[in-house]
Symmetry: C2
Subunit: 227 residues, 2 copies
């Protein structure tokens, strides 16, 4: 084997190690400081690369975070499918969705930024990979929910799973206020009522949706099914 | 009246005119380019001030947007209360919440950024003013909903109003994809299924919540009320 061939063979593996080191550094910084505050320069410094070198692996900070979000989707999918399968009752099926999200603060933080920021500053390929992962995870978790809750249709199960992820993105930042808001909540009861906790609110909303969605059957499109 | 007294009397009015010009310029830029892309420097240029001068009126871009969001809350409150009062049926009460939000794209864009960004880079006073406006508008719209829907408690009406605003913030960016995502949605059906439209999804979710919430009565706290 020539020296050149050795370099060629070694390069993809080395590149993959670098990518993983970058992702690990970004994960650590985001968990510590919040996704919002982590910059490409900060990740480069943490992993010991100059910024222009890091750009060979990821063009923007958003591409790093979309890849972390896809990883987190895989982790949530595995945990949610497993937890739903052993849920002891119909309501604990929905609770399992909320609890497995709540155990993943980085995922919730990433979800809160995905539509407003992350997807808006990424290449077509990075956005596609993230969206396909999202669609695949939603489909698998929805199938598990539909199996555990035969009172719901597959579409209704899908709406509940998407709603659970939506509530996580929506409520995570509200439930983790910055110091200025935390002081405000402590001072003013009217304002404190706007500080929604993720777990109880999301559980209650999902229960209400699951109770109400079947009452809308027949309203959409196929009105021949009655309503 | 001395010259100094004249200057003193004139100054607050002049300052108020400047503030309004800044808010109007930020509103126009945000409507045209999206809240996310508008910078303090861009607003300063649009209004013909140097950035250091603009800082005398607003310390950060987030303070400008929180004030615009408070204005938008007042507009939504007036429109929603009026529309709910003349809603011809129980479901059109909820539809009115969604439609009055959909008529306010800047408000929806601001809501999508409020918890993740706007509230995180503002002074205590700016955050307090915005939160008090939010609480006040929620209370007034909820009272109108509770009056038009006697099947719902005041608390349930409040949950529906907060959910409507939450769905607007959650779904607005997803329903207004950037060019990269729009191309992706056109190419790939699995990905396109993740492109949720605000109006139909929010109307359906609110109907399901309104149908399901009453079935949870008695589950929380006061279990003596039955369930």
């Amino acid at each position: 084997m020539s020296h050149k061939a050795f370099l060629r063979a070694r390069s993809p593996e080395h590149k993959q190690q670098r990518r993983e080191a970058i992702l690990a550094a970004a994960r650590e910084l985001a968990l510590r400081d919040g996704v919002r505050t982590v910059s490409l320069g900060g990740v480069a410094a943490a992993v010991g690369l100059v910024k222009s070198n890091l750009a060979r692996y990821f063009a923007t900070r958003e591409e790093i975070f979309l890849e972390l979000a896809a990883e987190e989707f895989r982790g949530w999918e595995a945990a949610a499918v497993a937890r739903v399968a052993v849920a002891p009752g119909p309501e604990s099926v929905l609770d399992a969705l909320v609890e497995t999200l709540d155990e993943r603060p980085l995922f919730c933080d990433l979800l809160s930024h995905s539509a407003t920021t992350l997807e808006r500053n990424a290449t077509m390929e990075a956005a596609r990979a993230f969206k396909l992962q999202t669609a695949g995870s939603f489909a698998k978790i929805s199938a598990a929910v539909a199996q555990a809750r035969p009172d719901l249709t597959g579409d209704e199960a899908g709406e509940l799973v998407a709603a659970a992820a939506g509530f996580a993105g929506l409520l995570y930042p509200a439930a983790h206020p910055p110091p200025v808001l935390a002081r405000l909540y402590a001072e003013d009861a009217a304002v404190a009522a706007l500080c929604f906790e993720f777990v109880p609110v999301a559980k209650r909303m999902l229960r209400a949706l699951a109770a109400g969605l079947p009452s809308l059957r027949g309203e959409q499109g196929d009105s021949a099914n009655g309503g």
